[in-house]
């Protein structure tokens, strides 16, 4: 016991900790940076880069770290690269860790809900903004436990640097046991030192996890109490309303705004559209009806460029969606600018709210990210949330809201970008029956708001009849029938339309 205490306080062993900490720090930080690059390279569409990054991960994950250390230490000097032992070991550690970091980040990115990415694109956010504001925060939060693991693994792996002359803790332990024959007391005291170091790393991991915990609403995290970071700006004064609700007045239907001409689309052998022509006028509210799988969602996604047509053209306000003046396909960034310019908002069947942001931030965030001052963005968010009846839950996370509440926030988010066209993709289909009414109420209010052009894919016949100026019925890749809502729903002229309406009415009863 006395020997154990003696070695626990042996300065020479404690000095070894300095090297162990340096190796851990350099290995972890270097691995983190290189891992980010590798993950990014694997996620790009540029094939050669993906291949190189993939090959790197395979090689570095597939060979023992001890060989990589010896390689950097004794092989690289033959080609003129002679790093000092500490740097050689740090480089080897970082290069090895990078392969694991890359996989952690890649799996994090893959785990981000594709619906949220579609929603972000539909809001007209540039790819960089989507990456920084939607993907990165979620990946970072998801990765913390795995990164904590890697920090500890890096520290333990640093012991391998002992074979290439880095005088770290393990090397000194081995040297001392060889010189003194006090085998067990030295190894035990070294184990205690490692345990203390990894214990600190575990504590740091838990603090970071706590700081990033989204479910903490009332109390502040331990970390934020230590570091006075301002997490949220004081809420802006609530302005009365951005869009004062107007009494339903005479609605003006303007010139054709959206035009589909000979649009074809198929997924493999399955044809969705076989030459669709359709015109929608400014201010018009159109209900899109049809069986599941008749292409209603695909049509909406094509109108705002989330899907590409195989043939034909879709124009909004005279601009071809997803193409430039010369008919060339737009890049993601250009497409985002076009969406913003055209002002097309979208509401999704599964809401697709940004899960890491509160209801308020879901609405104000996209505004802030595109240049609106935070105070104005917050004010707009407050007003819109009030308009959809969600002012009281502005601070709640999406997963704490019911489906109907989430969809109302989704509508507020789409409205925040001040669209002239609003596409609603089966906005009530994922809701429990008792929650449908609250969402339809909100949409009804919007339909009466002058100027907003709306296309609503829906199965709600009664609602369609009430709010829509016109119904478009689709089947077998064509527009089968279109006309005033009451006419198409009550007295369809095609047999296939008639059968559908009867089936829907039977289901509603």
């Amino acid at each position: 016991m006395e020997k154990f205490a003696h070695y626990l306080t042996t300065g020479w062993l404690l000095e070894g900790i300095v090297f162990t900490l340096q190796l851990t720090l350099y290995g972890f930080a270097g691995g983190l940076l290189l891992g980010l690059l590798l993950a990014a390279a694997q996620l790009t569409r540029f094939r050669p880069l993906t291949f190189v990054a993939r090959a790197y991960v395979v090689i570095y994950r597939g060979t023992p770290l001890i060989l990589q250390m010896v390689f950097v230490f004794t092989a690289l000097p033959h080609v003129g690269i002679s790093l000092p032992p500490l740097m050689a070991a740090s480089v080897a550690l970082a290069m090895n860790e990078a392969a694991f970091f890359a996989e952690i980040f890649r799996s994090g990115v893959r785990a981000v809900d594709p619906g949220q990415l579609a929603a972000a694109r539909a809001l007209g956010l540039a790819p960089k903004v989507v990456a920084m504001k939607v993907v990165l925060p979620q990946v970072a939060r998801m990765s913390v436990p795995a990164l904590g693991n890697e920090a500890i693994a890096t520290m333990k792996n640093s012991a391998l640097a002992s074979i290439i002359a880095v005088p770290e803790l393990t090397l000194r332990t081995q040297q001392l046991t060889s010189a003194t024959f006090d085998y067990f007391s030295i190894y035990f005291s070294t184990a205690v030192m490692y345990l203390a170091l990894t214990g600190v790393l575990t504590l740091v991991q838990l603090l970071v996890e706590d700081a990033l915990n989204l479910d903490r609403t009332t109390r502040r995290s331990v970390l934020s109490r230590l570091v006075p970071l301002q997490r949220e700006a004081p809420s802006a004064p609530l302005i009365a309303s951005v869009r004062p609700s107007q009494p339903p007045g005479p609605r003006t239907i303007g010139a054709p705004l959206i035009r589909l001409a000979g649009v074809r689309k198929s997924y493999g052998a399955h044809t969705i559209f076989d030459g669709v022509d359709l015109e929608i006028r400014a201010g018009e509210v159109v209900a899109l009806l049809g069986r599941s799988g008749s292409g209603k969602s695909t049509l909406l996604r094509m109108v705002n460029g989330l899907e590409d047509a195989d043939a034909g053209a879709i124009t909004v306000a005279g601009m071809v969606v997803g193409r430039d003046d010369r008919g060339r396909r737009l890049t993601e960034r250009q497409a985002a600018e076009q969406r913003k310019l055209l002002g097309i908002g979208m509401v999704f069947q599964h809401f697709n709210l940004f899960s890491h942001l509160s209801a308020r931030a879901n609405v104000s965030g996209p505004l802030c990210w595109t240049g609106t001052p935070k105070v104005d963005a917050d004010a707009t968010a407050e007003a819109l949330l009030a308009q959809v009846g969600m002012a009281g839950r502005a601070d709640a996370l999406p997963r704490r809201l019911s489906g109907g509440q989430q969809q109302r926030v989704g509508i507020a988010r789409a409205l925040a970008m001040n669209p002239r066209v609003l596409l609603l993709d089966e906005p009530t289909s994922a809701l429990d029956p008792e929650l449908v009414a609250e969402v339809l109420d909100v949409i009804r209010g919007l339909a009466h708001h002058e100027g907003l052009t709306m296309i609503i894919a829906t199965h709600q016949l009664g609602f369609a009849k009430e709010v829509a100026d016109r119904v478009v019925f689709m089947a077998d890749g064509h527009v089968v029938e279109e006309g005033p809502a009451a006419e198409v729903i009550e007295a369809p002229s095609h047999e296939i339309t008639s059968r559908f309406m009867n089936a829907m009415r039977a289901a509603e009863v």
Binding site: A5, H6, L8, T9, T10, G11, W12, L13, L14, E15, I17, V18, F19, L21, Q22, L25, V70, F73, T74, A75, P77, H78, S82, P85, S162, I163, I164, A165, P167, L171, R172, Q174, Q175, L176, T177, S178, A179, T180, F181, Y183
Partner: protein, 307 residues
């Protein structure tokens, strides 16, 4: 009590230094600065060494880095009282050679298998680390200048319960602990076919990174025998006299050699001259006695080269 508290305070101080070092100060080890060269003044001032310095002026005033595997008590380990320094027969011999040729010595401590790559890649200038000179090792890119003959001891449990008589068929079916990469590994492996010819199982080798791990394997009953330089073996027996004993001493057909990069003939020839002088004055024998290497037999310095 007071001294323990002082130690604790010092420990905290060092930890604070550790944090400071992380913030940017570099931290290097001054391990094993050569002992005062005056210790070998007689050798340094001998006519032979004076002439050697004139013949090899490139070495004078230099610091030559010795690649060291400091896990062999008596030959090279850290100094337990001052672990920042190395001690042992090879350390003293290296300092004596340095005094003769006019250079000082510093050290880079590496794994046993990394000794030769470290020198052939230019990270160190020479190896003086109880390394047995073999043709296979020379092919790694070094020439050897021999200085000692090899006697191996066989370390066993007290009373030699398995009746081991040498590197022979008495090892059949037994487990032998050995240092990774040591010359004894192929010698023990070569016993295998002889055992099988007698219808017995071949010996199993258990390989470890350093001598103390091998000895722990014997103490823990994981291995039946361990072979290494007889002086090293005797040291372990002295340390664990209740538990360990020597089965036999075997002379191996090897010499212990100093490794130098194979193209550095100037350094190699200077070493031959210096070792010759140190042996002829009896200094090598005195150093062996100082480190209780009773079985150390001086070998004439000859050069072993892979060609």
């Amino acid at each position: 009590m007071t001294s323990r508290r002082t130690a604790a305070v010092r420990a905290i101080g060092i930890l604070l230094c550790a944090v400071a070092a992380l913030a940017g100060c570099s931290s290097t080890t001054d391990a094993g600065k050569p002992a005062a060269s005056s210790e070998y003044a007689d050798v340094a001032n001998s006519p032979a060494c004076t002439q050697l310095r004139q013949q090899h002026p490139n070495l004078v005033g230099k610091t030559m880095t010795n690649a060291l595997n400091p896990y062999t008590p008596g030959y090279e380990t850290v100094d337990p009282n001052d672990p920042g320094r190395y001690q042992g027969f090879d350390i003293d011999l290296g300092n004596a050679i340095g005094a003769c040729l006019g250079f000082s010595v510093d050290y880079v401590s590496v794994g046993f298998s990394e000794l030769i790559p470290t020198v052939s890649s230019g990270r160190a200038d020479w190896i003086l680390s109880n390394l047995y000179a073999t043709k296979e090792r020379a092919q790694g890119g070094v020439d050897f200048v021999s200085y000692s003959k090899v006697f191996d001891g066989i370390l066993v449990k007290n009373g030699n319960p398995k009746k081991i008589t040498g590197i022979d068929t008495s090892l059949c079916g037994l487990t032998v602990a050995l240092n990774k990469g040591y010359v004894e590994v192929p010698l023990v492996d070569a016993v295998g076919p002889k055992c099988e010819a007698q219808g017995k199982p071949a010996p199993t080798t258990s390989l470890f990174d350093n001598s103390s791990d091998c000895v722990q394997a014997i103490l823990a009953g994981r291995a039946d025998a361990y072979m290494n330089d007889v002086n090293t073996v005797n040291r372990y027996i002295a340390e664990h006299s209740q538990d360990l004993a020597s089965a036999d001493t075997v002379m191996l057909d090897y010499t212990i050699g100093i490794g130098v990069p194979k193209n550095n003939h100037d350094f190699r020839d200077a070493l031959v001259g210096a070792v010759t002088e140190i042996q002829s004055t009896g200094l090598q024998g005195k150093l062996a006695a100082k480190w209780k290497l009773d079985q150390n037999a001086v070998a004439q310095p000859t050069v072993l080269s892979a060609g």
